[in-house]
Symmetry: D2
Subunit: 285 residues, 4 copies
């Protein structure tokens, strides 16, 4: 389970959908990503969650790019490396190959299907309206691939059913306890971003689980505060949210991590170091 | 909202996936469906939820078949008519046309996407592993079509996010309050079937909503009891579950309705008549 | 913990405050109590919760009367014997002596203080407005006395804090796990009688606890249904409520037990026998 | 209801039970209390919750002392004045007289009875073990007295039943909505200090209520963070807790208010001014 004294702060450095037009601080290249990872580590982050991008910012699943990111980050800092495996309309093999070849310590894994949408109140229309497809067959194959490669899965749960989806995977033996869970809140299509819903999601987890909250956009800060108050871990970063608690756009991932660290200290906890995070998550470098 | 004194008991007579090989009592033809509807009404059901089938039991979206069902049921009984619009891999237009042509009082509408799976502990494998796709674009079009035809939508919510999906639809104006909600519990991929989860789902609803619980397979009875205790409505029927509380396979939908009525009376409530249900749901015959 | 297949149905035969003017079926004398216990057992109760009364119906803490009750019940039936220790303004010693001398299998124990009141909407006044005083010093002494006598304590919790009060008692070593808990709901001054509150109370308990719900007056039946649906045990009886689910006044405790058994079966469970209850509660005859 | 943008930060300056031996910064005299109130206001507090003390620190219910406090605070700052009415073994009249004579804007009112205890794990004994007696008769008389004097009641709820106790008081007409509620958490005898319990308590309140959390001792900071995240108000101050989030003993109430303001800003909210608090609470100066 989580540690009552320390909080594992993760930094989701770049994501796949955001662009520099929206937020100039978003890193694209391996070098930029490594810079941001090192600065986030300095600010108090223990884990860097990473998606690869082309130099123009498009998502890529290229093994070499992921290897370059890995090496560039490792040259600069001891932060825990966490790779995404999520994408819409990308074959499973492409999302697994770089995980197995490059071997991050942790890889995130989406635990179910859902609508993945965004509605603009001002435009009165959907900004996007997609279906995020993650059938059991793919979840199982990703887990099996990670097990083979010695990569720890982080279970990304966007709703209560996604937590329930662990049941058959445990029975099949591709998933083992303790679970390491991300509770994503505030994606339209998934569970709404309220503290009550966070409490509900945490109650679904076995007691030996570790968990963090991932609040999307403006809801990130109150959810992170509530999670820190509940003994959970927190994720911030430009993948999830561009804005600091005071409403200003962040000029770097490190600024968001600094805000998270301040928040963590207001509840009397301290940010975990990467090695403390490794112990909490049970991963080896 | 719901009525504290009476419970609207719905009977889901046939469904689309179940077969007579599994349970001989499942009705296929319009005549059989009307027989079951009339017997369910006698036993205490106020609403019949219906999927059309061919004579061989395959799902069909044929307008004439739905019209025949409508007429045969109406000849026999005053039960509220509720048609399904859910299906996997069937175009939206096909699922809307019969609703608009035939005009049931209520039509069910799935409020989001999810995995729709079943895992067999004994076989150690998935019996099925599908993605139930209901993007916002389709939900919106179905709502608009029902509004046009004067059919009351029943919002089928399989998880907490599905309830949250009402938000943009309200903003767009295709959905209006009060909501009439079915809380489906126990489909693998959706919210697990626990009383705690039922309480959580009910809390997501605006106070003026009406709601019923739909528990899948063996979890149906405890969820129906809890719903009746909470002031909710209940659905039973061969679409959702073949077995009576004592473990015996039902020989008709009416038997399951009888069990539901007995359950309703153990909490001191009475089954609503179809006309009482119309008043509670705000529908006109 | 509780048993998923069976429900321990307790019958609270008489209480201390109710009178035959209110409900003619209330037993007063040891013989009457034993009759009611035997009939309740026939109807499906596994436990009889008993307060002693004088022949005129006043509460008494007389050791001989409790011994007579014990012997008369034991002559008639194998039901589990559970004695109350609760009272307002009666010295602790008087409430402990008969427990230690007579040695019932279980004795109930109030876990905290609270207002204990009743408000009449029609009279627009309080029917009674008392303070139910149960300081830690008394709880501790009662537990120590029961431990000494080999009597299993049933922890009566009227609010969330009462469950929390187990903490220091565990530390002191006068209380041990597993807990056997009664969740009393609907006394004015304690937690209100809602299914949501029942779910909340159950979540406070360690997983290895057994628990039953005790709903006061008209709220008893929906709470019992919800408890049965949640895997809990249920208590009915004239101490708590005079009325059957259909609104008629009960003519015996056995009638209320019959209604409870019917309710238990609607969720697919069976009433436990006294010996099954002993196994679940970990008590020896 | 509460304001989503601003947080009413209350400072409980002194209390009745704490001593300067435990924490040297605790103010006793009217002048000291006014100093602390003014500094707390500078730091961001909008409300000062006050108990009168003799020069030696003993609790007093003397009207003149409360008047001196009132005048000294009013000379120094525009902070909202909130007087306690809580005490153990002090007659009701004494606790009401100064409220009616001096006329603070708000007076706190305990909504039920409970054990009020503290257990020392190190000493393995109770530091104190009292019964906090607040029968309905006294609550009603305090409310009636406040209504007469135009003082707004703050309903102090230590458990779920205390919130439920509003029901008969509403019926009697001595209490009106909207409620202004303090949710006290972490007193041994009352509801334990968890975020889950806070969420549960907030759900009991009518939607138009305002509420703050009062966390006792080391649990204050996480509960305040969770409350701020949930849209609630927060109380800090030497009555409730001596220690800052970093574990150091506070050298003034203002230091604790500064920590609270920082916490409030980490969730993107701002502290309310006293006049903003008056508007939120519906009180007039
Ligand atoms: Zn990601
Ligand atoms: Zn259907
Ligand atoms: Zn009793
Ligand atoms: Zn105070």
């Amino acid at each position: 389970g989580n540690d009552p004294e320390t909080v594992v702060v993760s930094a989701a450095l770049t994501g796949a959908l955001t662009t520099r037009e929206q937020c100039p601080a978003i890193p694209y290249t391996p070098t930029e990503i490594a810079e941001e990872a090192a600065a986030a580590r300095e600010a108090g982050a223990a884990v860097a969650h990473i998606h690869a991008r082309t130099a123009e910012g498009a998502p890529t699943f290229d093994v070499d790019t992921y290897q370059e990111i890995h090496d560039a980050v490792r040259d600069r800092t001891d932060i825990v490396l966490n790779f995404s495996t999520g994408a819409i309309d990308v074959p499973l093999e492409d999302r697994l190959e770089y995980v197995q070849s490059v071997g991050p310590e942790v890889a995130a894994l989406n635990m179910g299907s859902m609508n993945y949408a965004k509605y603009s109140d001002s435009r009165e229309d959907y900004v996007f309206d997609m279906i995020f497809e993650n059938p059991f067959s793919e979840i199982r194959d990703l887990l099996a691939g990670m097990n083979e490669a010695g990569v720890t899965p982080e279970l990304e749960c966007f709703d209560t059913g996604h937590v329930g989806n662990t049941r058959p995977l445990l029975k099949e033996g591709v998933l083992e306890r303790p679970f390491h869970v991300s509770l994503i809140m505030g994606v339209l299509g998934g569970i709404p971003a309220t503290v009550e819903n966070l409490v509900h999601q945490v109650r679904q987890l076995p007691d030996d689980s570790t968990w963090q909250v991932i609040g999307i956009s403006q809801d990130q800060w109150p959810l992170a505060s509530a999670a820190a108050a509940m003994g959970g871990n927190v994720r911030v970063g430009l993948e999830d949210n561009f804005y600091r608690p005071n409403g200003e756009m962040a000029e770097s991932n490190a600024e968001l991590v600094e805000d998270a660290v301040e928040l963590v200290r207001t509840v009397g906890r301290e940010p975990a170091t990467p090695d403390e995070a490794r112990e909490i998550l049970g991963v080896e470098r």
